[in-house]
Amino acid sequence: MKTLRTIATLAAAVLALATPLAAQSEVNLLNVSYDPTRELYQDYNAAFAKYWKGKGGDTVTVKQSHGGSGKQARAVIDGLDADVVTLALAYDIDEIADKAKLIPANWQKRLPHNSSPYTSTIVFLVRKGNPKKVRDWNDLVRPDVKVITPNPKTSGGARWNYLAAWGYALKQKGGSEAKAKEFVTKLFRNVPILDSGARGSTTTFVQRGQGDVLLAWENEAFLAVNELGKDKFEIVVPSVSILAEPPVTVVDKVVDRKGTRKVAEEYLKYLYTPAGQEIAAKHYYRPIDKKVAAKYAKAFPKVKLFTIDDTFGGWKAAQKKHFADGGVFDQIYGPGK
């Protein structure tokens, strides 16, 4: 009996701790995002709270949750109360619409520019002085080059890496689907370690000293160089790459239940204002606002970009063909190869 009472008391204590403090003229938003955006949203949340207060709104506290894009989308599907999601690729948000019906299917049409307030691309990070003379995608299939990338099956960023390589091969003279497959297969033969996430790969490359080239988001590459040593690494921009559009949306069912729709929508709209765009640019995301883009033009190297929609027919098609079980990526690693 005594033990039961102890358990009951303890359980009550937990529940008391778990219940969030009642909000009074104070709004709590939860932004569920992917790994590389933590620094960006840390700054942005502070800026938005100030802006919203200045407009006569409530005190906004934005809580952040970061992790692999797919894992985060799953958490939202399974009931993580996200007011807004800001993920690595549209496919993950499509799944939230599809599997949990928390947002309408046409969510991507609700905000300008495919609901992507900033863009990025895939570049190469190499060791200082570029000892292996890596200039473009075709250098990655040379037998003496070791490439580090996360596993496209578990990392959103790695899917962009893979598709960028595929797109490059497709767009070469005489390029074809078969040639592209051969190229990507050869590239992955040069990959000695497949980490499960983008930051894991960065660590493998930077801290463990593995590999000659790291395929990475442009913003991640900038961050890695600035945080981990300008004297040790440099960025190589390939001749052509993919336009990565990380999308954002309000999670309708959640904001309506919590009564936070207005703030949540403003929170995302503010990303499109010059002030929001500046913050994005400072964190090495390419701004879509023309003026801000012009101001930061020097920071972002010029590169020819193709999009997922015109080269691969959108995320759903790309996912199914390349990354689903038995898809092209699995064939690369099929038995006996």
């Binding site: 303890l10 937990v14 701790l17 778990a18 939860l30 952040q64 009931g79 930051r199 945080e227």
Partner: protein, 280 residues
């Protein structure tokens, strides 16, 4: 000389060369698999000096993580301790059919991948799961909140105390308890006066292991936590966040807090030894 190591009589020890060979082999093994990784954790934690170390563990998010971890352990260790003692009593003191099956089922949470231990609670309590919609309608949060973290931890640390006690109590048999009962002691008296002193070390190791795992669990908790900074991050999750921010020093500093648990072990064990000597 500690009471745990009886003074070596000639009939109970080996010749010096054998002794030294055994000691050196054991130390080599521990060195390779234990001391070096441990030293690496502290070396990286103190890479930027004492101040950076202190700053990392005083940071509000770190403190919130420490608090959550302590709460989680404070609940999961006692409930599993009670279960462990009760189960060990039933299994070691009585004969019944299906005993090995029962023991195996108790072992099972060890072999369940942490990933899966988190997933099962998502399948049960998640929005797409069995109870999720009902829970949401009643505004009860289990996963992506503290109760989910506690549940996952209880599951992961479930077998520790029981598995520590079962082989020990079986090895000891039940003669002493039977004698006590025959002499007129009640069941509880027998348990407190006869059984507990006999199983003290096993009980202590069980609790220590259970506590260590409860505080250090990463995989299962990661699935049910939701990773909300400052509210649902435990120490291991906070370490991962810091590491992913390339803040290696802070990550290892916070991780080293968990390594310091070993020192707590040391203190607790010495205290128990001291108490035992006082009592006898």
């Amino acid at each position: 000389m500690s009471s745990s190591a009886p003074s070596p009589s000639r009939t109970r020890t080996e010749p010096a060369p054998v002794r030294w060979a055994l000691i050196i082999t054991a130390l080599l093994f521990l060195g390779l698999f234990l001391f070096v990784p441990l030293a690496a954790v502290f070396a990286q934690a103190f890479e930027k000096g004492w101040d950076a170390y202190l700053a990392a563990i005083r940071e509000p998010d770190a403190l919130a993580a420490v608090k959550l971890t302590l709460i989680t352990a404070a609940i999961s260790v006692p409930v599993n301790l009670i279960f462990g003692v009760v189960a060990a009593w039933a299994i070691a003191k009585f004969e019944f059919r299906g005993k090995q099956l029962l023991i195996t089922l108790i072992d099972l949470p060890f072999s369940v991948s942490p990933v899966i231990s988190g997933l099962i609670y998502v399948l049960l309590f998640g929005l797409q799961g069995w109870l999720g919609p009902w829970l949401q309608a009643h505004d009860i949060k289990i996963i992506f909140a503290v109760p989910g973290i506690v549940l996952a931890t209880v599951f992961v640390t479930f077998p520790f105390v029981a598995r520590e006690l079962i082989p020990l109590m079986e090895a000891q048999g039940k003669d002493e308890e039977e004698a006590a009962i025959t002499l007129g002691a009640s069941g509880f008296q027998t348990f407190w006066r006869v059984t507990i002193p006999n199983i003290k070390w096993g009980l202590l190791y069980g609790v220590i292991l259970c506590n260590a795992r409860a505080m250090g669990e990463f995989g299962a908790v990661s699935v049910v936590s939701g990773h909300i900074r400052g509210s649902t991050n435990t120490i291991p999750l906070h370490v991962e966040i810091l590491y992913n921010e390339y803040n290696y020093v802070a990550a290892f500093a916070v991780a080293s807090l968990l390594a310091l648990l070993a020192l707590v072990t040391l203190v607790v064990k010495s205290f128990v030894e001291w108490r035992m000597r006082e009592l006898s």
